[in-house]
Symmetry: C2
Subunit: 417 residues, 2 copies
């Protein structure tokens, strides 16, 4: 099977670097927000490359992009593989983009074969995985799997007040030649390659991570309400200072939740102060909480404790804690995991099983079809940063393993999870 290369590694790398020019930041990273002009430009480029190999583009009401290689039997559920094209505001070249481009390379290489696959094979780029422009993330895959209602998704707004609905319509208007397909369809399997976004593969000098599952995640939006006042005249005892209450909450949360055990991850990444003037006592502070743990029982208990700690430190202000994401930890498909291990072994790549500390769209696909993920190392375990880096050899190895698993599934008469 591996006498012929399964992919063109040089083409993959050069396309991945070309994609990183869209939204490139001065520090070498990428800022390509969901449904932005940058994402439209990325769609155009990816659609162009896919078109050269005979793949046809389509989209759905959730703004997911599909690139289809037609199979012999168009009536059976297709294979899906991909990731996302949006990035963090100071993100890197690989998070999401590596998965979409590896999938495209695997399918383009398959399209170059004489034999047609048994079923359709579709590359997907999910809408708003990151959740940085519109919260929460993974909107596209949640809409696809029916976990989240499109009306609710369309109503979310970015910091400038633009709704997902408005931004989505704008993307679709910018690409009038991309036909629309119904939202959600039966899929025979889902595969996603991603950089690890952690240090384990690098530390073990291992090229391929066979992902067993994704750690659980909860997110919250917390709003502290106090009263505005003049910084020079209002006595401390008369104040309802929302920032002072926030400081107590954040300090207590970091001290207690952040030290539950060595697996816990606790982050306050956004804090917005109103009215935001140096000489006005803040009337309102809103902030985000991101909480993760591989053990659902620990995760649930920490979630309850977060609300308690916020309330205990609010007085004399009021506080509301709104849960956003509530995603328990999950396990990926055993047969697909075995296929990934076999492909890595046959291709001579070192491989290890591992849990994903980060969330991915595959978490949602795993609820509706057999799903699995392939990890490749990233330098220093750094991701969501502008200097995020994956070695060309590792990108090629991951894509080649993905291509082998894809080919075995694509020509199989039936797929069982």
């Amino acid at each position: 099977m591996t006498s012929q290369p399964l992919i063109n590694a040089d083409r993959l790398w050069s396309r991945l670097m070309a994609l990183a020019e869209i939204g490139a930041t001065p520090a070498g990273g990428v800022n390509r927000q969901a449904l932005s002009d940058g994402e439209i430009a990325a769609w155009r480029r990816v659609i162009g490359w896919a078109g050269e190999a005979g793949l046809t583009p389509s989209t759905d009401a959730a703004g997911n992009l599909f690139l289809t290689l037609a199979g012999r039997d168009r009536g059976v559920p297709p294979l899906l593989l991909g990731s996302h094209l949006d990035s963090q505001p100071t993100g890197g070249k690989f998070d999401g983009a590596a998965g979409v481009m590896a999938a495209l390379e695997a399918v383009v290489s398959l399209a170059g074969q004489d034999e047609k696959p048994a079923r359709d094979v579709i590359v997907v780029a999910w809408m708003n995985e990151e959740g940085s422009r519109f919260a929460p993330g993974m909107m596209g895959s949640e809409a696809f799997t029916g976990e989240h209602d499109m009306d609710a998704i369309r109503a979310a707004r970015d910091a400038d007040g633009v709704s997902v609905g408005e931004a989505l319509d704008r993307v679709h208007q910018a690409l009038p030649d991309v036909p629309h397909r119904p939202l959600g369809f039966t899929t025979s399997a889902y595969l996603e390659l991603h950089i690890e976004q952690g240090p384990l593969l690098e530390a073990a000098a291992c090229t391929i991570g066979i992902v067993t599952g994704i750690q659980g995640k909860k997110t919250f939006q917390v709003v502290v309400e106090g009263s505005e006042g003049h910084a020079g005249t209002l006595a401390q005892s008369e104040r309802r200072d929302a920032l002072a209450a926030f400081a107590r909450m954040a300090s207590a949360l970091h001290a207690e939740i952040g030290t539950i055990d060595t697996d816990i991850k606790f982050t306050i990444g956004r804090v917005a102060v109103v009215p935001y003037a140096p000489s006005v006592v803040p009337s309102r502070v809103s902030f985000s909480i991101d909480l993760r743990h591989p053990d659902n029982a620990v995760l649930d208990a920490a979630g309850v404790r977060i609300a308690t700690l916020c309330k205990a430190n609010a007085s004399p202000c009021a506080v509301t804690v709104t849960p956003l994401v509530d995603a328990p930890s999950n396990a990926f498909d055993a047969r697909l995991r075995a296929d990934i291990g076999k492909a890595a072994r046959e291709q001579g790549h070192s491989a290890m099983t591992m849990l994903s500390a980060a969330g991915h769209d595959a978490r949602h696909l795993a609820k509706v079809c057999p799903a699995a993920m392939i990890f490749i190392p990233c330098r220093d375990g750094a991701s969501h940063v502008e200097h995020e880096w994956a070695e060309p050899d590792h990108v090629a190895a991951g894509a080649s393993v993905l291509a082998q698993v894809l080919r075995e599934l694509a020509f199989a008469p039936a797929i069982e999870g």
Copy 2:
């Protein structure tokens, strides 16, 4: 002296309300930032009203607006009176505007008299008193008195990256007919009317506050530097979370500095988090500190302690504490305070002496000439809020006292501080 009204109270009130339409907010307040389009519009309106009474406009390199009533002897140092036209983002109709409009009304009424004043009388609107768009505040009066260098002032930038220099040039270009005068000139006295921005006059049912001085103020800009990372993968023990360090600092500062005594005022009004994404560990948090106290020894000790507390709570992040404003408490001119008390008494207004808890441009003028301030009550002591309110009778009483003090100075052959 008081047989004839010294001002037209109805004209003053209607002009004050008309001014409040510029930058009016939906909740009834005012958002008129320094050197903004709103301030340009306010200048135009004020220049128009002044022109009807024969006052001539001029400006200086610091963007202060002057409206001059020519006196008999143009060679002697003029009288200066006024306040500022800029507001907080969610400010009210009276902070600053009441002082400029009371000064204008007093001078316009004076211009209507047969006898010319002995010296020039100039209404002033100082540039950027609030410091909310460009930090720190009181740039115009500090430039006028030579305490702050124009190059440094011009280099300060707002949140959108616009410099004071750019914004200032834009204001001057928008008003090409307003002649320029050299920055800073010898002044024989300075008077400023302002709402109290505190509850003391209202609580004492008193109409006129004779301000003895201004409490001392220090401001700081603090920057916490950590390292960016992925919220789902980076272990807590590996993090240099700038927000976690900020929470510890802010919590400790509020707990210790905010409770020094009942006179201390401690405010963190602005917090900026970078990169500002829910699933990225913050690499940088910058925040403002506003500290006030009437006793300079307490103020100085608290200032030193602030830097110590920031450093003690920074690890594993780095912190830099940059002092911005360092304004000790000051005392106003004894003779002018006596004049204000005498005018209030003769006009039948209840009056009390009091310390100003808030900073004002008069603080800086007091270093270069005899200066004093007149306070009038504001409802519930509330200021820097959209529902800020002063009664029409109180505005009229304050302006009338200001007008009487002005007339006595304006016709005096010499003024001694």
